[in-house]
Symmetry: C2
Subunit: 379 residues, 2 copies
């Protein structure tokens, strides 16, 4: 709109800007263009970015010097003019370590390439570990992956449950017994590599944004042992004023009671949707019809809880992540129907709700996105 520096309508510039910052920005812009579109010539990039061919050439030679970009030979098609030299990101130049601490009983890790594809995976049973012991297992997984890497490692991304601040300090993760633990700092010191620690649901949201085809403002609801969410608004993840954005598991739903929650309240979203509760309810059901009813009510409650959020944020998309057999079907249908019934179709009729297509690797891939974004300005 105005300067291009701040997103949206600029409000309150806060830091000075030097020419070198512009350079870094344009460098990322070139990388981003290659990352998104794929093989391009220098002239293509110039047209795409608005920079001149001269500037692009200069940036490309810098990037080729770092081994990030490689020439792919000449373009084949028959056109007038000098044939273009094609370029692309060297997508196997680096590898990324991604770690997912969000599953209840297992830590998972993977090596990924710059496209976010899993190359190798490792998992380690948590076996009830908490505190230092759990942290040691995180280090163990990463050490194993680092030793298996066959390329330089771009960085380490970790998706952790709980509340994580912008410096990667896990402020609170009850299941792992962490409070104010500087996991990012510890890992950075141990491995001497760039490290990013981020909330698991936020990681999943980023993965959906980069690989799942989410376009506009989106909320990802991650349903597992607990219920959490991540938000992507205007292309930027939302962290919240205390880094607790997306913590909707213990919000009360409806005005007609419900089951008692571990938190002491009645009718929290988790009492309807957390998988242990759902599994138990389904196991106790005596007929398929009853099971359908359980799933329908769970979806309905999700819709009731999200309706005000959809109204307030004017979301374009809601994505569910979790066990497909529970979520994808009656539950999702109930959720979207309830949402449509409880909001204004004139404003929010375009809302869509779907399962993620990224399956169980969503947090691993989201952690990789954080590394890509932090190190290359690409995602």
């Amino acid at each position: 709109m105005t300067t291009g520096f701040a997103t949206g309508r600029a409000l309150r510039p806060t830091t000075k800007v030097l020419p070198e910052h512009a350079r870094g920005h344009n460098r990322s812009l070139v990388l981003q263009t290659l990352y998104r579109i794929g093989t391009l010539s220098r002239a293509d990039i110039a047209r795409e970015t608005g920079l001149t061919r001269v500037t692009v050439s200069d940036l490309i030679s810098e990037l080729m010097g770092e081994g990030l970009v490689i020439e792919m030979g000449q373009r084949e098609d028959a056109r007038p003019g000098k044939p273009a030299t094609l370029l692309d990101l060297d997508r196997s130049a680096f590898q990324i370590v991604g770690v997912d601490l969000s599953e209840y009983a297992t830590f998972r890790g993977a090596l990924l390439d710059l496209d976010g594809h899993l190359l190798d995976t490792v998992s380690l049973p948590l076996a009830g570990s908490t505190g230092d012991e759990a942290a040691a297992k995180v280090e163990q997984i990463i050490a194993e992956l680092v030793s298996r890497a066959v390329r330089p490692i771009l960085g380490i991304g970790v998706g952790s449950p709980g509340v994580v601040d912008l410096n990667g300090v896990v402020l609170s993760a009850p299941n792992l017994g962490w409070t104010g633990r500087d996991l990012q700092g510890e890992l950075a010191a141990r491995f001497d590599l760039p490290v990013v620690v981020i909330n698991d649901a936020n990681a999943a949201t980023l993965a959906e944004h980069s690989f799942g085809g989410a376009t506009g403002d989106m909320m990802l609801v991650k349903i597992g042992h607990g219920v959490g969410a991540g938000l992507l608004l205007g292309g930027t993840p939302l962290f919240g004023s205390r880094f607790a954005a997306g913590e909707i598991g213990h919000v009360m739903v409806g005005t007609d009671g419900g089951a008692t929650c571990v938190c002491g309240k009645v009718g929290c979203l988790e009492t309807w949707l957390a998988t242990p509760r759902l599994d138990a309810a389904l196991a106790a059901a005596t007929s398929d019809i009853q099971k359908e009813q359980i799933l329908w009510e769970a979806g309905e409650r999700l819709g009731i809880a999200l309706a005000p959020v959809v109204g307030a944020l004017d979301l374009a998309e809601i994505v569910l992540s979790g066990p497909t057999e529970l979520l994808d079907g009656t539950l999702a249908r109930a959720a979207i129907e309830t949402l449509r019934a409880r909001t204004m179709p004139e404003f929010h009729g375009n809302l869509e709700l779907r399962m993620t297509g990224l399956g169980e690797d969503i947090v691993l891939r989201g952690a990789a996105v954080m590394v890509l974004s932090g190190q290359l300005g690409v995602s």
Copy 2:
């Protein structure tokens, strides 16, 4: 946080950046510093912004050439060294036209100075006008204010009800009979001045941010003939994927029925909170206790509706705007108590809820903020 170019953790650079953009950014930074802190010397600004004295001197001379900044004489206090030449924004150098179309029966307009103080006001009964007739009244108000201005006009800001896109096109404002009306374009053509048209609740949110002392992520709920809201997240207003963010008036609240709404649904937030409904209910009440109950339930419903939003966004603050006699008291108390009861105190216990201190001028002042932000990069 990182570069200063993108807000938050940078994701996806999208536009090129030239040195001249950096210049504009730093120029705004200097203006912003003067605007916020007030009288400062060049050296003070340099320390505050991180720019060098040389650069600041250069920017200041440019700004003085435009008449935006003036010298205020020398600093009086006794210190070693050459006495500092004090500078300030010339806060009476320009005037701003602000217009508020959000009241049910009246259009209001005002001349404001750069500090957002009202210098002169005009109002015009709407008298049921819609469509072109209503638009003509907007022009009439602005023309009157332009003729009364005794300084150059920096720009025109308009807060309109309904859904307004980023180009100031009123996509939908039922009360005024506008659909897809390019009000911003019409006014810019008519007055040959910078014009910004923005949703009324968003304008109010900006005013609260700039003048009301709102600090972190905030939601402003504007209660009047309808119920709308504006959100400020990470210092940036949220517009939503279809520019309908904040449209919470017709979200259903609770799972126990309620009154039938004009929209056809049952138990919309407006059925509890819109002032006509509240006034009617209070008028029909036969005792003070009953009136208290009505207000309490209204606040309770607001809390029920906002709890999921607070949980999802981790808001720091909720601000109410509207008739003080209705909102400030039982209703607000009920809302915050309900919010606290329905969310997690560990995450959201710091949440505050209060009335705005800006009264009925909040939209006018917010419209002025848009002009300030757009023209000077200041707010």
